[in-house]
Amino acid sequence: MTPDRDPARLESSAPIFAALGDATRLKLVARLCQSGPQSIARLTRGTPLTRQGITKHLRVLADAGLVRGRRLGRESRWELEPQQLIVAHRYLDLISKRWDAALRRLQELVEEGSA
């Protein structure tokens, strides 16, 4: 079984990483986190990119479920969609705690009588 060699699967396996694996997109997420929902115009300010360029990056983030755009009058405001990241992290914390408990039981078992 070599599922990691299957390109379709590989692609589907890391949408969050793919979306965040770019300096511009990471900065966009950080700015939305620090300053809350913002327009494209504001997000473009201070970057060397055009509005179209920023929009393209926001779409990649949106496809991964990390941000969402909402129409407000004549322009879109973009905001963080934190659910996905939170779910991913809290889920891992949960599994991680279970491993901690299991490894403690393993430790008790193997150290018993061999100390």
């Binding site: 396996s13 950080a30 939170i86 809290r90 991680s96 061999s114």
Partner: protein, 154 residues
Amino acid sequence: MGTTTTDRITKEILLKAPRSRVWRALTDSKEFGTWFQSVFTEPFRPGARLQGRITYPGYEHLKFDLVIEKMEPERLFSFRWHPNAVDPSLDYSKEPTTLVEFTLEEIEGGTLLKLVESGFDAIPLARRADALKANEGGWAEQMVAIEAYLRRNP
């Protein structure tokens, strides 16, 4: 005692026991079951697909599948499974699995055991959310979690 991303869990623990003892506790399915709180009908061997049943009180009706990948004596033991596949009404067989790898290293004072479970990013987000809902009542710490994440990953 470990690090996390969204895709993998890494743990390291120093066990004050010889490598041969740790290897037995990992690869003898009966011994594995004692600390993993489950029973298996068959011994572990590379390529084996077997079913475990949870022995933890209150969860005895739950079963899970395990596919043993590698058994390199006293060095590497790995298997694949569906993490947290505990809802008997769901068919997990078509969903991606995670890979659990134990590596053993002899060091002064005992055995250094490393555990890596990887592949979580492939697990449908809905499954992960279900696992959380089953385990935590509320979602009060959501914002704390995202802020902490972004601080660590600026």
